[in-house]
């Protein structure tokens, strides 16, 4: 938490120091719910568990216009997110972090392409200690407005998760299941359907480490796993495994503007993951959030 705060303060100080621009301060406050039909990321029927979470978030920080043309924006934000799961309380978590985003518009005007780069770091604490750790992510990409209604975007990035690790259970297999790294690509678009309604679609592909939980029977092995640990969240016989996997995710979203600074945001996500041995798991999630922006 201290490290997050330090990163945020240093970044804000650097921005103030390099350009005496007047900053806008944006604060988003949101609350909502999330339903996940496979919170364990399990492959087989009996290990598939669904759950519902209440969520809340606060994101706040300055946006600086750099340079002389207003085409370069630096956004800094501190970020607090909380999830409270109803059936599997060990998944409940709070994350505190910092984000930094740089956006460069290529030219003057509304229809110009943008290049952007983002970085974020957060500390996440679960009710189940094995999942505690750090989340880091960097990405970069481009955004292209097409006419008055459509924004297209494409980005590539890397993220890391540094977990606390557990006690080694299997000789030769570490228990640091939540030490993970992945690369990802994402393309998508945003359609302004009406003055109040915008629709979003995103397709992303991820390659790297993934974890899933399954009940292990005597005699089962952990073939293909690069780490394994006991996962008490899903019962005494449940083990969480880390594997190399690729996954594809489709996200469909809709944002309904309730006023100048508030939106009701709904989204559906479908993720399908594959390991070298074949299909790993599929999961779907529905989210609904009310987000209010204070400027």
């Amino acid at each position: 938490v201290c490290a997050c705060a330090c990163v945020y303060v240093l970044a804000a100080g650097a921005a103030i120091d390099c350009r005496p621009a007047r900053a806008e301060w944006l604060t988003d406050v949101g609350a909502g719910a999330r339903f996940d039909n496979n919170v364990a990321g399990a492959e087989s029927g009996t290990d598939v568990h669904s759950d519902l979470a209440a969520t809340a978030q606060v994101t706040s920080g300055p946006v600086y216009a750099l340079g002389d043309d207003g085409g370069t924006l630096l956004a800094l934000a501190a970020d607090l997110r909380v999830e409270a799961w109803s059936r599997y309380g060990g998944l409940s978590n709070a994350a505190l972090g910092a984000q930094m985003g740089l956006d460069r518009k290529l030219g003057l005007g509304r229809g110009r392409p943008h290049l952007f780069a983002d970085a974020s770091v957060s500390r996440v604490q679960f009710d189940n200690a094995i999942r505690d750790g750090w989340l880091l992510s960097v990405d970069g990409g481009a955004r292209l407005p097409v006419g008055d209604r459509i924004d297209g975007h494409a980005l590539a990035g890397i993220d890391w998760r540094r977990g606390r690790g557990g006690t080694d259970l299997v000789p030769g297999l570490p228990a640091d299941v939540f030490d993970q790294a992945s690369r990802f690509l994402r393309v998508g678009g945003d359609l302004r359907a009406t003055g109040q309604l915008s629709l979003q679609i995103d397709l992303s592909a991820r390659y790297g480490d993934a974890s899933y939980t399954e009940t292990v029977e005597p005699g089962d092995d952990f073939d293909g796993a690069t780490a394994v640990a006991h996962d008490p969240v899903f019962g005494p016989a449940a083990f969480v495994e880390r594997v190399r996997a690729r996954s594809e995710t489709l996200r469909l979203g809709a944002a309904w503007m309730l006023g100048a600074g508030s939106s009701l945001v709904a989204s559906f996500e479908r993720q399908i993951a594959h390991s070298t041995a074949g299909d790993l798991f599929a999961r779907s999630a529905l989210t609904l959030d009310l987000v209010v922006r204070f400027e």
Partner: protein
């Protein structure tokens, strides 16, 4: 005798007499002027605010008025990251100031053929006024806040108005004669010229004219949060 500032007293007296003559002649002329009460509704019959009505005179007498240059400087504010007003009607030859009343900077620009201009990042009243000397529609934006859009309608005629929330405006002080009255709106689907109609006005005429025009659904760029992840403008 010379007054302070070097002004001759005889000149002042002459000027005063001329002013009285102009007033005596002009007041009856104004009393004879006509007016047109204009109502604009959309395709569903709802009052349409921010519609511009322009009356272009066909007769020479009114045309002399058209030739008179406009006075003063108009103002378009930037308040709460919006252009205020959203639509401004001015005569060609008018200077417009763009004070920024937000506590952040804006970067105002336009690429419209009627007026291309750019006011680089500024705060307060630091930007110089802009001369709008060519009739037409000028679309303005802010290079930081892409949702900020405003319109300046630069009219070749001095007879114009903009509808309020009730969809109405009054074109007053129109000298008698023939006029082509047309309507423009930021979301107008048809060409502006297609809304034109000819109206003949007699002395002290008080006419009422109504337009029903088709407009596109308003698609002002969003300014609220649209995703639950992250901040900023993308």
């Amino acid at each position: 005798m010379r007054l302070p500032g070097g002004v001759d007293a005889a000149f002042v007296a002459l000027f005063t007499r001329i002013a009285w003559v102009v007033l005596i002649v002009a007041v009856p002329a104004a009393a004879r002027a006509a007016e047109v009460d204009i109502e604009v509704v959309d395709g569903q019959g709802r009052p349409l605010p921010d519609a511009v009505a322009i009356a272009s005179p066909a007769n020479p007498g009114a045309a002399r008025e058209v030739a008179r240059p406009p006075d003063g400087t108009e103002v378009i504010d930037q308040i709460d990251k919006q252009f205020v007003p959203y639509v401004k009607v001015i005569r060609a030859g008018t200077w417009v100031r763009f004070p920024n009343k937000d506590n952040i900077r804006h970067h105002v620009y336009s690429f419209s053929p009627a007026k291309r201009f750019e006011l680089p990042l500024y705060a307060g009243a630091a930007a110089p006024p802009v001369l709008f000397d060519k009739p037409g529609v000028v679309v303005m934006g802010c290079n930081i806040h892409d949702w900020m859009v405003g319109y300046v309608y630069v009219s070749e005629s001095p007879y114009f108005g903009k509808t309020g929330d009730d969809g109405r405006t009054v074109l007053a002080n129109l000298p008698p004669g023939d006029y082509a009255i047309r309507i423009w709106h930021p979301d107008l689907i048809a060409a502006e010229e297609s809304t034109a109609r000819t109206v003949r006005l007699a002395e002290a005429d008080a006419r009422r004219e109504a337009w029903k025009i088709e407009v596109k659904p308003s698609l002002k760029p969003r300014r609220g949060p649209s995703e639950t992840k992250g901040l900023g403008y993308h």
